[in-house]
Structures are given as C-alpha cells and as structure tokens.
Point group: C2
Chain length 379, copies 2
C-alpha cells in the first residue's frame, strides 16, 4: 500500500489535479485539470450511459457548455466492449468527445441486477442483462476496463448497499475498502485520476470511518456513493455534513447519481463539487421539464395552445425557438425532436445553475444566491 504514502504532488492521476479557488461557508468553487482540459466546479456531468448522452450530439453538448460527461463501465464493457473501444482509440475518440470524461466502476449497475449477481470477498459475478451471459468484476478487472476505456477520471469498484441496513453496510464497507486498496494498486495509467468512493449508508459512524480510511489511502478525489437510493434528503444532507470535514479540502468531491437543481444548491452548500444524474435527460423522454420554479410535464393539456417557451427568460435553443404547444405536440406524437429539445433545456438549466453557484461562491455571495433560488422555487 505504498500508494497511501504519496504526497499531493505524486498522486496517481496526473490528469486529475484540482485547485480550490474560493470557499463561502462550506460551498466551494474550483478548477479540475484533466488530460482533456479543465473543468470549472461546481459541475453537473450529463450521463452518457452507452457512450452517448441520450438524444443529443457532442456538438450540442459543446454548445451547451458541458465540461465533462459520465459514461457507464458496465454498459460499455458488455456492448460494444472495452477492448473494442481501446482498439478504436479509446472512449474519447469512439464517441467523438475530445473533452473530459468520467467513468463509473460498473459496480452500481451490477449490484442493481437483483437475482442476477453473486458477491464474494474477491469480486462479483453477474449475468448480462442483454444476453444472460456470465461475467465477473473484480477490483483489478474494473480498473482494467476503465483503463481500456481511457476516461480522465475513473473510480474504484465499490459495493452500494441498501442505505438503511446497518449490518449489511458494515459488511459491504469492509469489501469496498479492501477493493479500494486493490484498485489503487492495480491502476497503471498516469493520465487518469482515480477517485475512491465513500460508502456507509445513512450511518454517520460508517461514513466517517469510510472517509478516513479512503483519505488515508490517498486518492485523486473522493466520490460519495450510495445516496439518492431511497433515503430522505435530510439523511443525504446529514451524510454530507459528516463527510465534508473529513475529506481533504484540496481535492474534488463528487456526489454520485444526485442532481436536481435543488440538490445542486443544497449539496454545494455541504461541500460537494461534482454531480451527475440521469434525471434531466431521462425525464425529457416523457415530457418532463425542469424549471427554476419547479417541474412541469409538457404533455399536460393546459399547454396545448400555449405559445410561451418552456421557461420565460431561458436562453436555451429550445426556449428561444419553440413554444410549449409545439413541444407538447412533439412529445405526444413521440417525435425524437421533442426528446431532444427537452433534453437541451433541462441540461441548459442544470449547467446554468452550476455556473451561477460557482460565480456566487467566487463572489462570496453564495448564501444570498441560495435564498434567492429558494424564493423563486417556492413561488
């Protein structure tokens, strides 16, 4: 475990250096440096499960100002295969995205395969949801796949346990920690940053234990996993409040799978720098729209003759060119353009809010921003 003795400048991921530029309370503004460019934080990362953010192209993402996207190791391992992607030049080349990418470890998807997976101390055996074929992830395998994919930031294989089950979390955390050590040892590429994943369910003592253990190992950044899986917002916030002071201030913190506009504001307030969530893209498929004042569903009959944009004052392509009436028509007719245009709007809002938060932190007026946000949201 010589990895744990590396100093800040010899961390494993030369591509993952981070500068904390400002704090305001616990809120942080920073700059993440990766092998494919810099990412201002706080940042929202759109999810590109199968090497595409659903219903938008890389040039759309560039137009939106997306700084980094997430891709899923489990899905890409199964199809088209990480070795194939490596032969084709890696994930950036494969998906035409010459900007930062983060891959998850595949663990979350595998542990979600109820009835199709078997965990042991060494790893997890599972069946493909596509063809039922048997596969196995170990910490070394998860790192190997992610090195084949070649994302700028990769993460450890971890076990995401039901957040309220104490005994299960104790067991799972032991595996997660042992696997984190093995992932660190297995890592071989210098151009990738490796994040550890803090687990421990809703239990403060387990979360603290996890944060301390992983920090001692010395990662390039820390993900906080196992949240947004059924616990309350209060429980999630309590976990963040435990973890925040225990993680190194000079390294990025990534809250996995969380990301509504409200979450961005409240979790940045508790020390988080990075977010990903399928919500903005997934809800777009069925007519779901995020706005600063809450959510709406464009299929609602009250929009049938509504010439207004999705959100007044929004500067996105969708809001500056199309009416609610048209977007309702497209959604009811199941036209792809509806999914595309709602996705653009939802992502634009997430990115805009992350940027506004960043500016507020840099100007040391985050609390005022937070209050204004909630005053509009409640209205």
């Amino acid at each position: 475990m010589g990895e744990s003795e590396k100093g800040p400048d010899q961390r494993s991921g030369g591509g993952g250096r981070f500068s904390l530029l400002a704090t305001d309370g616990r809120a942080r503004a920073g700059l993440l440096r990766t092998s494919h460019g810099e990412v201002p934080t706080p940042v929202f990362m759109p999810v590109g499960t199968r090497a595409t953010v659903k219903a938008v192209s890389p040039r759309d993402l560039e137009g939106l100002g997306v700084g980094i996207v997430l891709a899923n190791t489990y899905h890409l391992y199964l199809r088209p295969g990480d070795e194939r992607i490596a032969r084709l030049g890696g994930l950036h080349t494969f998906m035409g995205w010459d900007h930062p990418i983060l891959t998850d470890s595949g663990g979350f998807q595998v542990f979600s395969l109820a009835g199709l997976r078997r965990i042991d101390a060494d790893g997890v055996t599972f069946r493909s949801h596509i063809d039922g074929s048997e596969h196995r992830f170990t910490p070394e395998k998860a790192i190997g796949i992610q090195e084949n994919l070649g994302a700028d930031i990769i993460v450890c294989l971890d076990e995401c346990a039901p957040s309220g089950d104490y005994a299960y979390n104790v067991e799972a955390l032991a595996r997660t920690h042992a696997w984190a050590e093995r992932c660190l040892a297995a890592k071989s590429r210098d151009d990738q940053a490796l994040f550890g994943i803090v687990q421990g369910g809703v239990f403060a003592e387990l979360r603290a234990q996890s944060a301390r253990f992983l920090t001692a190992l010395g990662f390039d950044g820390y993900a906080i996993g196992g949240l947004s899986v059924g616990e309350t917002k209060e429980q999630m916030h309590a976990v963040l409040e435990v973890v925040d002071p225990l993680l190194p201030a000079d390294l990025p913190r990534y809250l996995m799978g969380v990301g509504t506009p409200e979450d961005l504001v409240e979790c940045v307030a508790r020390g988080v720098d990075m977010f990903d969530c399928v919500l903005p893209t997934r809800m777009a498929r069925n007519g779901g729209v995020l706005t600063r004042t809450g959510r709406l569903n464009i299929r609602n009959a009250r929009f049938a003759d509504d010439p207004a944009p999705l959100e007044l004052g929004c500067s996105c392509y969708t809001c500056t060119h199309f009416s609610r009436a048209y977007l309702r028509h497209l959604t009811l007719a199941k036209e792809i353009l509806g999914h595309h245009l709602l996705t653009l709007h939802n992502l634009h809002l997430m990115l805009t809010i992350a940027q506004e938060i960043r500016e507020a932190v840099l100007a040391r007026r985050f609390q005022a921003y937070r209050e204004t946000f909630w005053s509009r949201f409640a209205s």
Copy 2:
C-alpha cells in the same frame, strides 16, 4: 373557372414564382421564389410529416443547407389540428422553420387507409388512424386546411389510384380533375402557390390527358403523383417522358414521393425540378445509409471494428466526427444519436447530389455528371 384564364403573371400563388435558369437536354436548373425565400432547383425536400423532420432540428436542417421541407396535411389536421396551428401563428412559427414549406393535400395518406375510407364524387370520408374518429376531406376542405397551415406551396386534393389498374385510373382521374378545378376556385391566400397533381397511373394516354387538363387550368406548378407505388423504374421514367413536354417550361415540376440519389439523377434527366422522399430519413432509423456507391446497413457485423467514416470524402458532421464502429454501436443500442447522425448523413448526400446536379446543368455538363455518377455507383 376563371382561374384558368390567368396569364403567367397573374397566377394564384404570388409566393411561387419560378425562373428557369438553364437547361441541358431535358435537365433543368431554376430558382423557385416563395414567401419565405428562394429555393435553387433541382431540390430535394426532406419530409417533416408531423411538423418535424424526424430526428433533426431546424438548426440542423439549416446547417445542412435544406431549402424547403414538406409537411403532411393529413397528420397535422388530425394532430395537433390545423386550426390550432393557425392560432399559434401558422406552421412556420409552430415548427420554428422560417424557410419555405410545402404541404401535401392529405390525399395520399387518406387513400392509403385501406378499409378505413369511402370515396365519392364530392370527397372522401375516412377514419383517423389515431382514434378511429370519422373525418371528411373535400377539395375545399383540403385547401382550407392547407391555408390554415400556411405553407408556401400547397397542392390539390387528388386520388392516387393503383398505378396499373386502367379502369380505376380512368375513374379516379375524372375525380382528380374535378377536384383540381374546385381547389383552384377555393384557394384564397395570395402568399401561397398552388400546384396541380398529374395522375393517370402508368398509362401514357391518361398522363398526357391529365397534364393537358391541368395545364389548361393554370397552376403555379405541377406535381406528378401516383409514382413510386409499385411500378418499375422504367414505367416511372416512361411517364416522366410523356409528361415533361406537356408541362409549361417556365413552371416547376415536382415528382411526389420519389428520391433516391439515383432517382434524382435520372428524373432530373427527364425534366423534374423537385423531389421529396421519406427514404433518407426513414432508413436512418434502422441503420440504413445512402452512399454514392450504393446502400449499406451499419448494423452489419463487418463494421464492428471499422474506424472509417460512413463514406470516405463526405464532409457531413457525421462522417467528419464518427466511425462506422461507433455508429453501429449506437444503432444496435437503439440510441437516438445513431438515428440522428445517420439522418444527417443521408440528407447531406441528397442535398449535395441535388446541388451538384444543379451546377452541372448550369455549366451544361449534366450528361458527364450523370455518367460519372453511374460509374461510381456501379463500382
């Protein structure tokens, strides 16, 4: 029928004037002037059935250089409704497309509703494919709907008969001609051009009769309908060769529903100026790709590791950014981006070929272009 006595400068569609700029053999290059801008011809019109060209946005279409799109009266009448579209400012505003639009009459779709429609001398009664509700199109109704939609070019209600059934075509042609007179009389908007539709199946004498009858009525342009519905290419070409010399040289000719790269070359060679076809957009959904050398399906296993673009030398966004291997992956995974990127390529090819043909005609080297086209296509 005073409309038939209008001279060329008093034609009903102020928005539809046409300049024939050059001819080369029977091939023509022209400029169509509409209320929403000019369209160089020959032109390929992407099909936007339900007020969207499937899987692409208006800005994508602008980026491709699309000059005019087609929308379907039948579909928009049923959903979201032509009166609603009128209230929302018309089809251009509704779909965010401030460039020329052509609407069909809805006839083709209604006559395709086997078992769900009943024709009489006055019009056609049919049931909606969406909810089974009963509706009726008459010539006046078809024009009224198209005036509500507000396209730059509208067409007469016609009856598209099985192309090889002589007796049926005689009967149907009588109705089509009577309806053409009524459409001309019903038309009230000066900013829309009205095209008559030449019918008559594969029968030269009926086609000639139809071309003469409609020309005498005096339309802003002439559509040639009822082709590409089962007859051979030779039969289609034979019909064009009958019709071409009978239509006014100074007005545009639109071959309905036809448009492969090969069709563009061979039908321009027989006097056609305008084309529409769902093929380039529809085939993209299932991995179908048009190229200058023929078609390919990107799902084919031989593309799994292929780093090459869809078509070497193609300058479209898809070919300059993505490999066949990636596009195969997207298509197999049923990702919308695959449909989007193949659509962009297929439309780019159609538009490029139309533009190349135009330049060849203007330079009086169309025959050489045609020979080169076929030498590459056969290779």
